[in-house]
Symmetry: C2
Subunit: 387 residues, 2 copies
């Protein structure tokens, strides 16, 4: 036995923690949402090797079902082995080369994050901004294109920080006309909101597992089309990020199945089940379900005298921002719902901190009983927090 | 309803896949290893929010138990939200600045990966190399220090590609003497092999969840001490990797719990249970168990006339490399074990491709019954593959 084993072990950090016991939560915030019970069951299956023939065929199924969910034929459609933010960074890291002009449309927290990431990859970052709660018009985007002549344009489809759904009509054509790649954040839209990657001429997209897909957080769906792949293949140097390098990942997720990193196999069991359930329901049905439950929520909140932050034509069905009435401490109210009823809703981020609550009805949680539950809680509990 | 929902959904990628059904595997390859059943149960718990007070306290428990497993007091000890390779890249991305001289000791596949990563972060990368199956002497390392004067030295403690355990005596002192940071890959040693981060004067370390910890792959334990943090804090620019930026992660995993990305909460439920079980067993006991089961495996293989690739004083208890006898097709044999018996063993990588099998006895799988099972299979099945 090695002599090194003879050193004594220090037990100061060896705490006698008990077995894990997790409180039951109904997650009606900005995400994670609750997972479908059969997804949780899939997560707990005995792992297999990441090069096992069974796993290799499961990878193909996950890719195919992701193509369906995103309505794309993109060959390189796969879940990144990290959360949605990793997939977000993957789009930037692979495509941006130092000095590229990148235009980011900022109308909330996640637009700022895209701009931060593009800056780290040494792009010349230009931004256009709107108030948190508004969307961009095609004209505003076109004006910025003429001013900045970007080679990549990034915009958030469903802004989780504001509850706004960006209208996409015409943006893809505009990008083609200006020879610019189009990058779309679909974190809070995939599975819950109409989304057509190919019809909308999206070149790069990313999402997450824990919202419209009803799976726990931990995987970041990513898709890139041939137009964007061409830019990747013509890079002057290596992608400056090893873990997210799509030219390496292509050898594992493409046809060769060459080892890159050890895949998070259990998370992939989970997302495979989540995507299968989405296909079983049918995208149109899932979109319609999200829409009708959101409308019931909006109607109910307005009946209680509450105001929605976003005008109805821009409202996201997956995430609603509710104005905190004057005199109410929003944080105290949401803590009360969490501690007394096990119901999580979100607070505002950035410009909307302290001004709104964020209520998510996403994936498995977009159900009539949850709409009723949260409306009943607002009706019975909110008056206790009014001055 | 938005007009966009009226476009019709394309069902070409909507395949009618059935519910998931995973074959039972005994994973005796280089990892993933099988998970402890109670870890799988923890994975399947209902998720909670990543800012939920319950989750925030669970984060602290995971950090404390990781400190115990690594024998370190490092404040910044946390699981990265990606696999071991993400944690590996985190050590490089945060510490390396363009032009830094980085020395990598390469004696297998993962040394090459470290060098590739350091190159992507624009280090001046110097390497020393040994044959796959050997370790470095202190003198060889010291000579390289005098020649290259590195500011960061990276070495793999437990080379998963060769089965070699690098003796660490004196390396930490050498690094301090030369004012160089010491980065250690502990992917195949954490939990299974004696390892003392602080006593050995390791400045940066990373590992994975799916080997000695008996948890599925998906998290990358990471630790950095104050000496390395100082270099991070004095960087001229932002860390060129947003997802792995420890200065941002510090605000979430440090004291403030400021939102960075949505944590993979269920994977953290799993690793918390895995680390709790390790503490319950006791590190010394886990190390001794790995050692005695490995010795039984080595004895048994040698009794069958098989040769181990690594001399006994350098052999890893967690992963053994077995020479493929002349005339045997190694890949056909391992496929036979997988398909007929559900037992996975690994093949060789890089310089050892086609030359060795890799047998892992890690974490939950380091058990006498597994030693007996794999020895019985070698005894009964291997003769069928000899010419």
């Amino acid at each position: 036995m090695s002599t090194e084993i003879l050193s004594s072990v220090d037990n100061r950090h060896k705490k006698g923690f008990g077995a894990i016991s997790v409180p039951e939560r109904l997650l009606l915030g900005p995400g994670p949402s609750n997972s479908d019970p059969s997804v949780l069951k899939a997560l707990a299956l005995n792992p297999v090797g990441h090069l096992d023939p069974f796993y290799v065929s499961l990878m193909g199924e996950v890719q195919e079902l992701l193509r369906y969910a995103w309505q794309t034929d993109n060959r390189l459609t796969l879940p990144m082995s990290g959360t949605g933010s990793a997939a977000m960074e993957a789009t930037i890291a692979n495509i941006v080369e130092p000095g590229d002009t990148v235009l980011i449309a900022i109308k909330g927290y996640f637009g700022h994050r895209l701009a931060d990431m593009a800056d780290r990859y040494k792009a010349k970052v230009c931004t256009i901004e709107k108030n948190w709660g508004e969307a961009f018009s095609l004209e505003e985007i076109e004006n910025a294109f003429e001013k900045y002549k970007p080679s990549l344009f990034g915009i958030v489809h469903a802004e989780t920080s504001t509850g706004v759904c960006q209208p996409m009509n015409g943006i893809g054509d505009l990008c083609r006309k200006h020879d610019c790649l189009l990058l779309l954040d679909t974190v809070t839209s995939l599975g819950g909101v109409p989304l057509y990657l190919d019809d909308w001429k999206i070149d790069l997209a990313y999402s997450c597992s824990q919202k419209g897909l009803s799976c726990p957080p931990g995987l970041g769906p990513f898709s890139i089309n041939e137009r964007a792949e061409k830019k990747l293949n013509n890079r002057k140097g290596k992608v400056p990020n090893w873990y997210l390098d799509v030219s390496l990942l292509n050898k594992y997720w493409g046809s060769d199945r060459v080892y890159h990193h050890t895949a998070p196999v259990n998370m992939n069991f989970g997302i495979r089940e989540a995507l299968r359930l989405l296909a079983e329901e049918g995208l149109e049905n899932s979109w319609a379900r999200h829409r009708s439950n959101a409308e019931a929520l909006w109607d109910g909140l307005q009946s209680l005298g509450l105001e929605l932050h976003v005008p109805i034509d821009l409202r996201l069905p997956t995430l609603s921002t509710v104005c905190i009435p004057p005199g109410v401490n929003g944080k105290e109210f949401s803590l009360h719902l969490l501690n007394k009823f096990g119901v999580e809703i979100g607070g505002g981020l950035g410009d909307l901190a302290g001004k709104v609550w964020r209520i998510g009805l996403m994936g498995y949680n977009s159900r009539q009983e949850n709409v009723e539950k949260i409306l009943n809680l607002f009706e019975s509990e909110l008056p206790k927090f009014r001055n």
